[in-house]
Symmetry: D3
Subunit: 300 residues, 6 copies
Amino acid sequence: MFMHNKRLQYTVRVSEPNPGLANLMLEQFGGPQGELAAAMRYFTQALAEDDPGRKDMLFDIATEELSHLEVIGNIVAMLNKGAKGKLAEGAEEQAELYSTITKSGNDSHVTEVLYGGGPALTNSAGVPWTAAYIDSIGDPTCDLRSNIAAEARAKIVYERLINVTDDSGIKEALGFLMTREVSHQKSFEKALYAIANNFPPGKLPGIEKFASVYVNTSQGEGDMKGPWNDGPEWERVDDPTKALPVDGGDGKASVALKGAQLKDAQESAARLRSDPTGNPTTGADLGAGPGAGRTKPVKP
Amino acid sequence: MFMHNKRLQYTVRVSEPNPGLANLMLEQFGGPQGELAAAMRYFTQALAEDDPGRKDMLFDIATEELSHLEVIGNIVAMLNKGAKGKLAEGAEEQAELYSTITKSGNDSHVTEVLYGGGPALTNSAGVPWTAAYIDSIGDPTCDLRSNIAAEARAKIVYERLINVTDDSGIKEALGFLMTREVSHQKSFEKALYAIANNFPPGKLPGIEKFASVYVNTSQGEGDMKGPWNDGPEWERVDDPTKALPVDGGDGKASVALKGAQLKDAQESAARLRSDPTGNPTTGADLGAGPGAGRTKPVKP
Amino acid sequence: MFMHNKRLQYTVRVSEPNPGLANLMLEQFGGPQGELAAAMRYFTQALAEDDPGRKDMLFDIATEELSHLEVIGNIVAMLNKGAKGKLAEGAEEQAELYSTITKSGNDSHVTEVLYGGGPALTNSAGVPWTAAYIDSIGDPTCDLRSNIAAEARAKIVYERLINVTDDSGIKEALGFLMTREVSHQKSFEKALYAIANNFPPGKLPGIEKFASVYVNTSQGEGDMKGPWNDGPEWERVDDPTKALPVDGGDGKASVALKGAQLKDAQESAARLRSDPTGNPTTGADLGAGPGAGRTKPVKP
Amino acid sequence: MFMHNKRLQYTVRVSEPNPGLANLMLEQFGGPQGELAAAMRYFTQALAEDDPGRKDMLFDIATEELSHLEVIGNIVAMLNKGAKGKLAEGAEEQAELYSTITKSGNDSHVTEVLYGGGPALTNSAGVPWTAAYIDSIGDPTCDLRSNIAAEARAKIVYERLINVTDDSGIKEALGFLMTREVSHQKSFEKALYAIANNFPPGKLPGIEKFASVYVNTSQGEGDMKGPWNDGPEWERVDDPTKALPVDGGDGKASVALKGAQLKDAQESAARLRSDPTGNPTTGADLGAGPGAGRTKPVKP
Amino acid sequence: MFMHNKRLQYTVRVSEPNPGLANLMLEQFGGPQGELAAAMRYFTQALAEDDPGRKDMLFDIATEELSHLEVIGNIVAMLNKGAKGKLAEGAEEQAELYSTITKSGNDSHVTEVLYGGGPALTNSAGVPWTAAYIDSIGDPTCDLRSNIAAEARAKIVYERLINVTDDSGIKEALGFLMTREVSHQKSFEKALYAIANNFPPGKLPGIEKFASVYVNTSQGEGDMKGPWNDGPEWERVDDPTKALPVDGGDGKASVALKGAQLKDAQESAARLRSDPTGNPTTGADLGAGPGAGRTKPVKP
Amino acid sequence: MFMHNKRLQYTVRVSEPNPGLANLMLEQFGGPQGELAAAMRYFTQALAEDDPGRKDMLFDIATEELSHLEVIGNIVAMLNKGAKGKLAEGAEEQAELYSTITKSGNDSHVTEVLYGGGPALTNSAGVPWTAAYIDSIGDPTCDLRSNIAAEARAKIVYERLINVTDDSGIKEALGFLMTREVSHQKSFEKALYAIANNFPPGKLPGIEKFASVYVNTSQGEGDMKGPWNDGPEWERVDDPTKALPVDGGDGKASVALKGAQLKDAQESAARLRSDPTGNPTTGADLGAGPGAGRTKPVKP
C-alpha cells in the first residue's frame, strides 16, 4: 500500500514563471525517459518478481521515482502558474495573450490551451505518454539491463535540462534528481551481477557456430576494426554474400500447401498476375502533360 | 546505400501453414522487441554517430537486422499462405471460413481479414509498430547500454517462440536468429567498455551526498538487504520521512508571482474555491435511490 | 513524497492460475478505465491545484488508487504465475505449450510471449496504456465532473469483471475495489457542489439566445420528447434548415486574401481545376474488364 | 441516414489568414475535447442505445456536433488559406517562406508542410486524433456523466480560444459553439436524472463497510477537512497503515501452484536468483573512472 | 450543416447475435479501411478544397460514408445485443459468462468487458481508430489518388467480410456497402482525370536524368523484367554500386562547423571515443558462466 | 539479404547547421509520407507477394527507399550537428542555450533535448512513426493503387521542402529524392495496368443497381455537375431521403433475441430507462448561479 507525505523529497524553488521552460521539463514528467516511465517500469516488474531481494529493491526504487515524478511535476506547475491564471481569467488583451502563448516557446501553447497550465503526461512535443515506452519482458537478466540503460538515459536528459536552465532553484532540484538516477543505476547493476551466469540471458544456449561470428554487412571506406568485431573472440565474415545462406540451404522460403489450399493459391496467383510481356497504358500515361521529365503516353 | 540479395541469410523451411503460429511470430517482426525495432535503433544511431568505429559497427548490425526482419517475415508469410488464398478466393463455405478465422488462434483474424495474410508491422496483439519503442537519445554510453538490453530482450523472446514451436524448420531458423542477438550483445558490450569512464554517463558529476544513498521507501515484512542497497558503498536511509526533505528546506514548491499574474491567480482561486464548511446536496444525492450502500441525500 | 508498505490494502487470494482471466483483469490495470488512469488523473490534478481542500483530497485519492493498482496488479500476477514458469523453463512439450498459449483465452498470448507473464500496462486487447485516456484540463468544475464520470465507469467495469469470475478470493477483492470507486465518486461530487455557481463552467456566460435551444437534427420515426429537449426551459427547433444559418448571415466561410496571397491562391486553383465539362478516360476505365457491374471505358 | 446542407450552421467570417491561430483552433477540430470527439462519442452511444428517448437525443446532438466540426474546420481552413497557396506555388523566396513557416507560430509548420494547409484531425501539437479519447462504456448512467463532463471541458477550451483571439468574426462563431456546449450539457443532465436510482451506477450494490470510508493517505501540513471527507456521512481513516489490510487478512497475494507449475516456478526462481550475500563487480564498476561522485570498483 | 434521418440507407436484418462476428465487422467501423476513415478523409478534404466541383463531390461522398458508418455500426450493435444484456444484468452463472466471453471469438471480449457491447471505434484487434490512417496532404492530384486507393481497399475488406458470413441479411447489407465503394472510386477517378497534366503531381518538374531510371537494387535468382522496369521508357541500372553516388560526388555527408560548434563537436567526440585498439573486459564477460556458446572473459 | 555500401546514393552537402530546418526535414524521415513508410510498405508487400515480377520490383524499390532514408537522415544529422555538441558539452551559457533551443524553430527542441540531435523516427511535430501509416492489405490491385498514391504524396512533400530551403546542397539532394518518387510511381502504374481486369478490385462483382448511382447527399448553393456524378454512366439521385432506404425495407436495424437474451435485454432497458415524462432537478440545476444564460433550477 502506498502512503503520501505532503513534503516533497526535494524542495522546489522556482524564481519566476516560464511556460517555455515548463514545456521542456515535461520530458522528465511525461516523456519516454521521464519519471512516470521509471516508476511504472519498476513497479510492474516488482509485482511479477519472485526473488525477494529484487522484489524489495524494485518497490523501493519505484516508490522513490513516484516521489521524483512529484518533484518534477511541481517544477512544471510552478513554471506555468502565471500562464494558468491569465488564460482562465481572460484578464489580458486577447492579442497580447495570443502573443504570449505563441511566443513563450516550444510547445507550451498545448499546455496552456489544452491542459490549462497543469502538468500533463506528455513529452515536450505534446505526445501523450504511452506504455510502449516500457520494455520489461519478465526476465530479470533482461529487465535489469533495461533498467540500467533507462537510468543512464534519464541521467543524460536531466543533464541536458540543467544545461538550458539558469534558475538556480530548478538547477538544484534537477541536480538532485539526476544524481539519484546514478545511484539507481548502481543498484540495478549490483542486482544483475548478483545473478550467476547472467550472460547470455535465458536458458537456451546459442548455436555455437553462429555465436562468435561478426558479419561485415556494411562495406566501403570507413570499414573499421575494434574489439567489437575483431580479435581471437571473433570469427569475422567480410564477404557475407559469398556463402549465402549461412545454413547451406537454398536461401529460399518454402511451405507445403496441399489440396484446396494449393488450388486457391494458384487461382489467386493466376487471377492477379502482372503480365511482364506487354506495355499497358497507365493512369499516369493518361494524366501526363507535355512537361519536362514526364513519361510519354504509350499508345495501346 | 543498401543492396539486396534475393537469397535469405537463413533458409526458411515451414512444414505447414498455421495462422495462429504466424501471429505469435509477429512479435519479432513488428513487435517492440522485434527486428524492425532493432534495425531502426541501430540505423538511426549510425546516422548520428561521429565515432568511426561505432559508426561502422552500427551500420553492420543494422543491416544484418534488416536481413533478420526478412527471415522472420518469410516465416510469417509461409505460415499464412494457406489462409491468404482461401480468403481471397472465397472458395470455402462461409461458415467454415468464419470458423477457421475465429479458431486459428490468437489475433490471427486481424492478419487475415485486415492484412490479407501478409506480414504486418504489428505485434501479436495487432498493435501497430511505433517508433516509441526506440529509446536512443544520442549519447553512446546510454545508447550502447540500451542496445545491450535490447539484444538481451530479443534473445529471450526468440527463446519463448522456440519453446512453443515444434516445426523443425522454424525452430532452426529461430535458433539462428536468437544466437545472432547474443553475438550482437557482445559487440555492443565491447564498444561500451572501449569508452573510458563510461560510468556515470555524461559530463556532469552527480552530487556527492546523494550519489550513494539508498532510500528504503518500501517497508514491512519482506525488507531485504543485498549488495544493491547495503554495504560500505551505500548510505542506507531506513526512515526517509524522518528528515524530509533531503535538502533541509521546507519541502514545498514555490514560485514568485507578481502584479497581474498574482492578481489573476488570486481571482481564479477565489472564483473556483471548494467551500470546506458546508455540506452541499450533490448530483449523486439526487440520483441515489433507496438501495443498500448508497449515500443519503442531505438537505441543504 | 510517497512511501510504500509491503502489505496490500486488500489481501489477494487466487485459487488457481488462469491466464485468460488474467488478461480480462488487465482492463483495470492498464485499460482506459483502470487504476493507473485513475491515479494519474488525480495526481496530475493535485499538482496543479491551488485550492487547499481539493489539493489534499486529490492527493489522498490518487495515492489510494496507486494502492488499488497494486491490488489488481497482484491479481494479474497470481493468475499468470503458472504460465510464467512454464514458458521460461520450456519445460513442456512445444505443441502442448503452443496449445496452452493459444487456448488459454482472450489475448493472453501477448502477456505470455511478450511480457513473460508479468502484468503489463495494456488493456485486455494488448493496447498499451496512453495518457490520451486522461481528460483533465485544469479547470476544477470540469475536472471534478470528469472524475465523477471516471469513477462511475470504473465501478461498472469492476461489476462486469465480478460477473465473469467465480474465484471467490478474486470476487472479494474486486468487490472492495468496486466499492471504493463509489466512495470516491461521492467525494468528488461533494467537492464539485462545494463550488458556488459551478454551472456553466468557466467565466464567460453563454450567448443567451443559443443557450436554451434544442436543435432536432435527427428526424423521422422515433422522434421523442422528454425533459432534455422539451418544456418551458427549452426553445425547440424542429426544422433547423429552414432558417439556416442561425446568425442570419449567408452561412458561408470567408477570409480576405490580399496581394500575393490572393494571386497564389488563384494560380493554384487554376492549375488544379477539375474540369466539369468533359468526360475523361480514367485509370478505372483502362482497368475495367468485361465483368458484371463494371464501368464501361469511355472513348476520349 | 445523414444529409448535408452547404450552408453552415453559423457563418464564418475571418478577417485575415493566420496559420498560428489556425493551429490553436485545431484543439476543437482534432483535439481531445474537440467536435469530432463529441460527435463520435454521441453517435456510437446512439447506435447501441435501446432507450428511445436517449437514442433520439444522442442522434440529435451527434448530428449537431458534426455541424460544429464543420464550422470550426472552416475557421481553420480560412486561417490557413494564405499559407496554402504560397507553399503550393513556391511563389516566394525560399528563405522568406522558411521564415514564415517557422515564425507563424505554434506547430503550424506541420499543417503547412505535411497537410498543405488543410484542417487535419490533430490537436494543436500535431498529435493525430485517437478514439482513445472516447470513454463510452455502454452504460447510460456512466455515459451520460461522461457526456456531461465532456461538454463542460469543451465549453472551457472554447472559452480559452475566445480569450486569445481578437478577430471578431471568429470570436462570434466560437461564442456560438461554446454556448451550444452549455445547452448540450443541460440535455445530458436531464436525461441522467430522468433515470431513477442512477447512483451508484450499475446493479451490484457496494460493500457497505467500505462505501463511506475516506482514507486519508496523504498526510502532513495541508491536511484538510471538508464535506468530501468529513461529517456524518463519512467514516474517516486517518491512520491507514495501522490496520492494514482492511480485510483482516495477511495483506499478501497468493495463488496455489501445483505439480509441474510449481516445479517450473521453483526452477525458474533458483536459476535467476540475485544472491544477496556477495558483492559482485559490475559493469558500472568496470566503467567508472576516477571522477567525483562515482562508485568505486570493488575487487571480486 | 448536417441533418439525420432515422431511417438507415440500407435495412439491417441480423438473424442472431454473434459477438465474434461483430468483432470482425469492426474493421469497417473503426478500422483503418473503415467508414469513419472514409468519411473523415473526404470531409476534411472538402473543407480545404477550393475547386467547386470537387468540393461538392467530397461533401456528397463524405456524407454518404457517414451513413455507411451508421449501417455497419448497426450491424455491430445487433450482433452484440445478446451479450450486452447478459453482462449488464449478470444474469448467468459466472463461469458460463466467462466461457462465453472467452470463446465467442476474436477480440470480442474487449467489446464486451470494456465497451459493454456497444460498437467501439476500434479495429477487430481492439486498436483505437487514429487519424494517422488519413493520408490527405492538401494536393488534389495526390488526395484523389489516395481516395481511389482507399476505396479499392475498402471494397476488398468488405469482400473478405462477405466471405466469412452466412447470415443473409448481413451479406446483403455488406454487398450494398461494398458496391458503393466501387461507385465512389469511379467518381474519384473521373475527378482526377478531369485535372489536366495530373502527372507528375505538383509544380516542380523532376530532374530529367533521374526520372526514367530503374535501379535494380535487389539481385539474384528471381530478377525479372517487365514494363515496370524495362523497355524504351526506362534506363535500367543493373549494377548500382558501380558508379556510386549518382551525382558523381564523394557519396559522403558533410556540413561546415565553425568556431565553438566545431570545438564542442571535437570535445564531445574525444570524450566519447570507443578505443578500437584494446580489448576491454565487459559486463557480459563478468556475467558469462561456463555454459556452451558463451563468450570467454578476457583478462584486462 | 541486405548489404550496405558506405557511400550514399546521393552526396549530401549541407552549408551550415540549422536545427529548425532539420526538424522540417523529419517529415520525410519519420513522417507519414516519408522514406521509412515507403520502404516498409514495399518490403512487407514483397514478402507476401507471389507474383514473380511484382515481388522483384517491390524488393528493388523497397531497397532503394532504404537508401533514400539514409540520404534524408544524413541531411537531418548534418543540420543538427552544431546543436548536438553544444548541448552535450554544456559549453554555452545556459540562458543562451535555452534561447537557442527555443528559438531555433518548429519542434526542434524535441530533437535536441530528447534525442540529442540524432535523427529520430518522428514527423516534424515530434509524433513517433507508426505502422498505422502503412495501408497495405494484401491485394495487389489495391496495394499498387496505394503505392501510386503514396509516391504522389511523397513527391509533393519533397516539393514543399524544396520550396522552403535555400541551401543549394540540400535542394539538390531533395530534387533527386523527389524525382525518384516520380519514377517509382511510373513503375507501380505499369505493374497495376499489367493486371487484366484490375477494376473493380477483387473477385466479387458489385450489385449492379447500386454500382452507377451517385447520391447527392450534400445540397444547396454550390451543387455542381461533372463527369464524376453526371452523364450517361451515372444514375444520379438528387433526393436521397425520398425513397429511403434503398432496399425497400423499413430502414431499421433488427436482430432476433430469444429466451434469456431477450429477458436480460428487457430487464436492462427497464432498469435504465430515462423517464420522458417528468422534469427532474439535475446536477446542473444545483450548480447554476444567478448568471446570465444559465438554466433555472426546477423545483422537483
